[in-house]
């Protein structure tokens, strides 16, 4: 309860600071502000995917439905964040590069994650028996676990990208204004907290659904 209230205040303060307090970067102009929303959502997209995959592997190992609840919940919420990251990225790309979509390697990898989340959830939707659904979805997730590094890390290294990399590139981090860095890291933390809260809600719903399934 206290955490939920704290999260609300934290995010509200972050959003206000992002629009009113943080300075703009010369070339990026007003589009600097997308930094505080786009990168945290993209980060949560990857975090949720990792969360889902680790719990899938754990499910295959331990056969505990708790892991399946976590894997499914993280995938559902991850899809939401993935859409947010894709859309905010496309809008930014329109402002900076002149087109919404250009198959930049970063755009390719986020689109790939979108497909992956979609396929995983479609697969879950197509299996009725919970045990079989959990097992087959976990298998699919484990295979995707192999594919992800290739698209997220290998392909963008092979092809030339225009995408700015303030996290991966250490020079960008040093150049970051202290106020930008503060707002950015608090938003990163805030979005991660938001994800964990949504996750706990979804997992609790899944537990109730599971209990009702066993009772019926």
């Amino acid at each position: 309860m206290i955490w939920r209230g704290l999260l609300l205040v934290w995010m509200a303060a972050g959003i206000l600071a992002a629009f009113l307090w943080a300075p703009l970067v010369p070339v990026l102009g007003e589009t600097t502000r997308v930094l505080y929303f786009h990168i945290p959502t993209a980060w949560v997209t990857v975090l949720a995917l990792g969360w889902s995959m680790v719990h899938s592997l754990l499910y295959l190992r331990r056969r505990d439905f708790e892991h399946d609840h976590h894997a499914a919940a993280a995938a559902e919420i991850g899809l939401l964040y993935c859409i947010a990251a894709t859309v905010s990225g496309a809008i930014w790309a329109k402002a900076m590069w002149g087109s919404y979509w250009n198959w930049d390697p970063r755009e390719t990898s986020i689109f790939f994650l979108l497909l992956l989340y979609g396929a995983y959830l479609a697969l879950r939707g197509a299996i009725e028996d919970p045990e079989r659904r959990a097992r087959l979805a976990a298998i699919y997730s484990a295979v995707a676990f192999v594919a992800v590094p290739f698209l997220i890390f290998v392909v963008p290294r092979i092809y030339f990208s225009l995408h700015p990399d303030p996290i991966i590139n250490p020079r960008g981090k040093v150049d970051m204004d202290p106020r930008i860095r503060l707002v950015f890291s608090s938003m990163l933390l805030g979005f991660t907290g938001l994800f964990l809260w949504m996750l706990s809600l979804r997992v609790r719903v899944a537990r109730v659904e599971r209990r009702r399934f066993i009772e019926s």
Binding site: L60, A126, I127, L136, Y140, F145, F150, L151
Partner: protein, 224 residues
């Protein structure tokens, strides 16, 4: 058929032989896949004409045709078992590993047959012989291996869902995107006169990774 349920070479060979024989009896999967590949190839060729000097378009079209032919047909090996109600019996006489490897080899053979017909036809229609045959064939072979590896595992999963084949293309495609990206870029480089070394390495690494994870997961595929 060996009845010991082992995953020995003999069991794999038996599964492969059984696949080939039951396919050869009707040949409908092979025929429809070949027809599909030739149809899409014709559509592409008819729509764009000869493109001998456009390496980028050539590479993309070749792999799109191959990818679609694979997506349209590779789920068949497992869906056939489930629809015919023969999977339980197959599982009684062979280990999951033997079944998976047998089906993988069958899918590879199947893909190879499609390529033997489609690729020469493509090169002929487009008027673009590859400048370096070893590089071209290497890309084709590694690309097919990765394609078959992903398709076999996803096919095994998808055959146990409602609507069976329907989800196959959608579920395989994210896993095949790295193959498509590397194969297209390698084939383009090869037509443009450069060596596709990085792409060959990427394809080999991806195929190996897929095969390794499949080997780890195969025991979880069928349990009920």
């Amino acid at each position: 058929m060996p009845g010991d349920g082992s995953s020995s070479a003999a069991a794999v060979w038996a599964v492969l032989r059984k696949e080939c024989r039951s396919e050869w009896r009707t040949r409908w999967a092979l025929n429809s896949a070949l027809l599909f590949a030739v149809t899409s190839l014709t559509a592409v060729s008819f729509a764009v004409g000869r493109l001998g000097d456009r390496a980028d378009v050539l590479a993309a079209l070749l792999w799109v045709v191959l990818l679609f032919a694979a997506l349209a047909s590779l789920a068949h090996a497992f869906v056939r078992e489930v629809e015919g109600g023969t999977l339980t019996l197959l599982r009684l006489v062979a280990s999951p590993t033997a079944i998976a490897i047998g089906k993988l080899l069958f899918n590879l053979l199947f893909l190879g047959l499609i390529e033997v017909v489609t690729v020469p036809l493509f090169l002929l229609l487009m008027g673009a012989p590859p400048p370096s045959w070893p590089a071209f064939l290497g890309l084709l072979a590694l690309g097919s291996l990765a394609l078959a590896a992903a398709a076999t595992l996803v096919g095994a999963v998808i055959s146990q869902t409602r609507g069976r084949g329907a989800l196959f293309a959608g579920a395989s495609f994210p896993l095949l995107l790295p193959v498509l990206a590397a194969a297209v870029s390698g084939t383009r480089a090869q037509w443009a006169g450069g060596p596709p070394t990085a792409e060959l390495r990427l394809l080999a690494a991806y195929a190996t990774a897929l095969l390794a994870i499949s080997a780890l997961l195969v025991d979880h595929l069928w349990e009920d």
